[in-house]
C-alpha cells in the first residue's frame, strides 16, 4: 500500500512541478522543453511501479518496470540476436530496397502527367490498406528466414514513399520551372537542382511514416513462421509461456528502435532540408 501512496504522491508533485515549469519564465528554454515531457514519462513509470506493487498485480498480467529492467539486463544476448534478425536483416534491408524502388519509380512515373494522375489515387488507396495481411503470402514465397520479412517490408513501405515522392516532385511552382527553362537547363539539371531538393520535405515525410511500418511488417511476418530467433518470434513464444517480463523487454527494444530510427531520419531531414521554413531559426 505504501508503494501506491508514494507513487501517487510523486505523481501530484511531478504534476505541480510541470505546471510551475510550463508557466515559469524559462518555459521556452530547451532544458524545460526537455524536462517537462521527461518528467511526465517518469511519472507514468513510477505510477505503473506503484500500482503493480501496491495492488500486488500478478506479474503474469503486468510486470513492474523494475522487473522488466532486470530481465532486460539479464537477457541482453537474446535481445541482441533478435534485434539483428528482425531489425538489421529484415526491416532495414526491406526498408532500403522498398524506399529505393519507390523513389526510382516515382521519378520514372513523374515524366508522364497521365500516369501520375492515374497513380496518385491508386497509390493513396494502397497506402491506406492493411498490407500487413500479405505477410503469410510472402512467408510462403520466400521462406522462413529474413528474406520473407524484407519482402513484406518492401511492399509496406513502397506506397507511402511513392505517393509522397510523386507529390513532392509536383511541389515546385511554374515560376521556378520557367526560371530553369530560361537558364536552358536540361531535364536532368532541373530535376537535380530544383525539383528533387523541393521534393525532399515530402520524401522525408514518407520515410518517417515508413520507419514504423517497416518494424510492424518485420515483426508481424515473424508470427507466420521464422527461424528460432527474432522479435516477433520471441514475443509470440514468450506470451505462450507467460514470461511476460521478456515480452516487455522486447517491446522496450522495439520502442527504442522505432524512436531512434524516427529520430535519425528527422536528423538527416534537418541536414538535407535546412532551407525549409519549418527548420529556420
Amino acid at each position: 500500500m505504501m508503494a501506491l501512496v508514494a507513487s501517487l504522491g510523486f505523481w501530484i508533485a511531478a504534476w505541480g512541478a510541470n505546471i510551475w515549469l510550463a508557466n515559469s519564465r524559462w518555459r521556452s528554454t530547451g532544458l524545460v522543453r526537455l524536462t517537462v515531457p521527461l518528467l511526465f514519462g517518469v511519472t507514468l513509470l513510477v505510477l505503473w511501479e506503484g500500482i503493480v506493487r501496491g495492488l500486488e498485480v500478478s506479474q503474469v498480467i503486468l510486470p513492474a518496470p523494475s522487473l522488466v529492467a532486470q530481465t532486460f539486463a539479464a537477457s541482453l544476448d537474446i535481445l541482441w540476436t533478435d534485434f539483428v534478425q528482425t531489425v538489421v536483416k529484415g526491416a532495414f534491408r526491406g526498408f532500403l530496397i522498398g524506399a529505393a524502388a519507390a523513389f526510382l519509380c516515382a521519378i520514372a512515373i513523374d515524366r508522364s502527367g497521365f500516369l501520375t494522375r492515374g497513380l496518385l489515387p491508386i497509390g493513396n488507396f494502397f497506402a491506406a490498406l492493411p498490407i500487413v495481411g500479405v505477410a503469410p503470402i510472402m512467408v510462403n514465397w520466400f521462406g522462413f528466414d529474413w528474406q520473407s520479412k524484407a519482402a513484406v517490408v518492401v511492399v509496406m513501405v513502397f506506397f507511402p514513399i511513392l505517393v509522397n515522392t510523386v507529390q513532392g516532385l509536383k511541389a515546385t511552382d511554374s515560376m521556378q520551372r520557367d526560371l530553369m527553362r530560361t537558364y536552358a537547363a536540361s531535364y536532368a539539371q532541373t530535376l537535380f537542382k530544383l525539383r528533387l531538393p523541393a521534393a525532399m520535405p515530402f520524401v522525408f515525410n514518407g520515410l518517417k511514416i515508413a520507419t514504423t511500418l517497416a518494424l510492424i511488417g518485420a515483426i508481424v511476418a515473424e508470427y507466420f513462421g521464422s527461424p528460432t530467433r527474432g522479435m516477433g518470434f520471441r514475443i509470440s513464444t514468450a506470451v505462450g509461456s507467460l514470461s511476460i517480463d521478456l515480452v516487455w523487454a522486447e517491446i522496450a527494444v522495439a520502442a527504442m528502435v522505432g524512436t531512434s530510427a524516427y529520430g535519425l531520419i528527422a536528423w538527416i531531414e534537418r541536414r538535407v532540408t535546412f532551407w525549409h521554413p519549418s527548420h529556420r531559426k
Binding site: 495481411g133 516477433g232 509470440s236 524516427y262
Partner: protein, 310 residues
C-alpha cells in the same frame, strides 16, 4: 472524372503485370501436377527442375503454361480466381440466404467492421479530447505532444499479443475489446494532430473579435474553434478510419482469432488455402475503400452545408 481514364489505365497495367507474373510463379507446381498425371515434362522430376529457371521451363513445356492459370492452390492466383472466390464467399452466399454463416466473408467483414468502428470511436474520442487539452493547457502541450509522437514510433504489433493476453486474464470475454484498443492506438494520432491544427486555425484577430463580444471560453470554443477545425477533422478522420482497420486486422492476425478478416488470412495460411488469404485481403481493401468513401461523402455534405450558412 478527369482522372478516370488515367486511373483505369494504371489499373489495367497492374492487372496485366499480375497475369504475366502468374505463369512464372506457378509453373513449377503446374508441371509437378502434370507429371503426376502422366505427361512427359522436360526435364523429368521436380528435383531436376529445381535448378532450371522458370522461364526456361515455360519455353520447354509451353503446352502446360495454361495449367499454371487454373491451379487449386496456386502460389499466385489470377485476379479472376480471386474474384470468383470473393463472389463465392460473399454475393453467392448472400443469394442463398447464408450471408452470415461463418464461411461467408460478409460475416467476417462484419466482425472486423464492429471492432474497427469501436476502435475508431475510442481513438476519435481520445484524439479530440487530447487536442482540446493540448490547445487549452500549456502543460498538456509540453508533456503530451512529444509522447504522442513517440507512441506512434512504437510498433503496436509488438504489444498486440500482450493486450489480448492481459485482457483475457482480466476476465474480458472475446476479442472485441483488445482489438478495439489496438485500432484506437493506431487511429488516435492522426485525429489528435489534425484537431490540434484545426483548433489553432482561427487567427488571433478572430479570437480577439470574440473577446470584444465578451464571449466566454466555452462560447468561443463552440462558435469559432470547433467549426474552424471541421475541415481538418474530416481529413484526419479519413486517415484515422483506415488506420483503425489496419489495427483491427493486426489485432486478429497474430493470435489465433477465429472470426474476422484477419482470422481468415490466418486460417487460410494454416490450411494452405491461398485463395482464402487473397479473397480476405481483397475484402479488407474493399471495406477500407467503402469506409473512406463514406467519410468523404459525409465531409462533402457537412462542409457544403457550412458553406451555405456562412
Amino acid at each position: 472524372m478527369r482522372n478516370l481514364l488515367p486511373i483505369l489505365t494504371v489499373l489495367g497495367g497492374i492487372v496485366l503485370l499480375w497475369y504475366l507474373a502468374v505463369a512464372p510463379m506457378n509453373i513449377r507446381v503446374a508441371l509437378d501436377q502434370a507429371e503426376r498425371a502422366g505427361s512427359t515434362i522436360t526435364p523429368e522430376g521436380s528435383v531436376e527442375r529445381r535448378s532450371v529457371s522458370v522461364f526456361r521451363l515455360m519455353a520447354d513445356n509451353s503446352e502446360h503454361v495454361r495449367a499454371a492459370y487454373a491451379l487449386d492452390r496456386p502460389r499466385l492466383p489470377t485476379p479472376a480466381q480471386v474474384g470468383a472466390e470473393l463472389w463465392k464467399t460473399t454475393g453467392d452466399m448472400a443469394l442463398k440466404g447464408r450471408a452470415f454463416s461463418n464461411r461467408s466473408l460478409i460475416y467476417h467483414a462484419w466482425i472486423t467492421l464492429q471492432s474497427t468502428l469501436w476502435g475508431f470511436a475510442l481513438g476519435m474520442a481520445v484524439g479530440i479530447l487530447g487536442a482540446v487539452a493540448i490547445v487549452y493547457s500549456r502543460v498538456a502541450d509540453m508533456s503530451l505532444m512529444p509522447w504522442a509522437i513517440i507512441s506512434q514510433t512504437i510498433p503496436i504489433v509488438a504489444l498486440a499479443p500482450m493486450i489480448i493476453v492481459v485482457s483475457s486474464q482480466l476476465g474480458i470475454e472475446g476479442r472485441g475489446v483488445p482489438k478495439a484498443i489496438i485500432s484506437a492506438y493506431l487511429c488516435f494520432f492522426p485525429v489528435l494532430v489534425g484537431m490540434v491544427k484545426g483548433l489553432r486555425a482561427p487567427d488571433p484577430s478572430q479570437l480577439d473579435l470574440l473577446k470584444t463580444y465578451d464571449a466566454s471560453g466555452l462560447q468561443s470554443f463552440l462558435k469559432l474553434r470547433l467549426p474552424a477545425s471541421l475541415p481538418f477533422l474530416f481529413t484526419s478522420l479519413k486517415i484515422g478510419i483506415a488506420a483503425a482497420l489496419v489495427g483491427t486486422i493486426v489485432g486478429e492476425l497474430p493470435t489465433g482469432a477465429v472470426s474476422g478478416l484477419g482470422a481468415r488470412i490466418l486460417i487460410g495460411d494454416q490450411f494452405g488455402a491461398p485463395l482464402a488469404i487473397w479473397s480476405a485481403l481483397f475484402a479488407a481493401a474493399i471495406l477500407a475503400g467503402l469506409l473512406v468513401t463514406l467519410l468523404d461523402l459525409t465531409q462533402r455534405v457537412a462542409l457544403g452545408r457550412m458553406e451555405g450558412r456562412a
